[in-house]
Amino acid sequence: MSIAETDPVTTAPLDVVELRHKRRDSALTQLAAAAERIGAVHEPGVLVAALQHSEQLGCSALGRGFAVPHVRSVAVHRPLLLLGRSTRGIEWGAADGQPVHLVAAVLTPSAASARTHVDRVTAVAHAIRLQRTRLRLLEAGATAASALFRELMA
């Protein structure tokens, strides 16, 4: 039995992270560390492994320079969205071969249903599907990007 339900994606906490690394696994580690700092994750090592397994299941880079890594994990104790930005670009293994500049990570607690998680992931992927939207998110300051992302998700 599971009676816990996660917040809708529009009200989940959101944080903007400037990604320094060039490799996907390093970027995932940085995102997990940011999630732990915010207090949404207890075991960042377990979260990194879960994110890597999720990438093994299917690459989260959707092409044209953006990726939506997502995981439903026991390491996550409250839902969180992380917006990662990289000016240099990250080698993510996208089908189109382009480096990733914008990463929107969706972290969902294990108590939430798989359907809730998929709804959150597709909502995020839909929100940043337009190139002009992604450019605005990349060029804005951290606070403005956070506000813009919230506006897109509403």
Partner: protein, 113 residues
């Protein structure tokens, strides 16, 4: 990787596999551009993690997964999140240490955080 981390990794792998095997949800992800092609690789990874786990915990995990649909259950503020019974103070691990236990009420495999 200690036993607790292995059990958590196993649980996360099962959550991923549950998502990939649900045709409606994987179809929805597929339409959004996520190709879930690595199910067999994840199954191999699951077998590898399970093989590395102590037999006692591996058997308990599989039993809980079969019975409750979830191999491991979290404990928050001494409450088992499976049966919602408050566990005795003496059952808690030393402060700052995460440990695996069995719930005295429902028998679920518990992870204290």
């Amino acid at each position: 990787m200690n036993a607790a981390e292995r059990v958590l990794a196993l649980c996360d792998l099962d959550l991923l596999l549950e998502l990939a095997r649900e045709s409606e949800l994987s179809g929805k992800l597929g339409r959004a551009g996520f190709a879930l092609a690595g199910v067999s690789a994840l199954e191999r990874e699951r077998a590898r993690v399970l093989h590395g786990l102590d037999r006692r915990w591996a058997n308990t995990y599989e039993r809980c997964l079969g019975r409750y649909g979830r191999g491991v259950t979290l404990v928050r503020e001494r409450v088992c999140q499976g049966c919602f019974v408050t566990l005795p103070t003496c059952a808690a691990p030393p402060f700052g240490e995460a440990e695996l236990h069995l719930c005295e009420s429902c028998g679920r495999l518990l992870y204290w955080r």
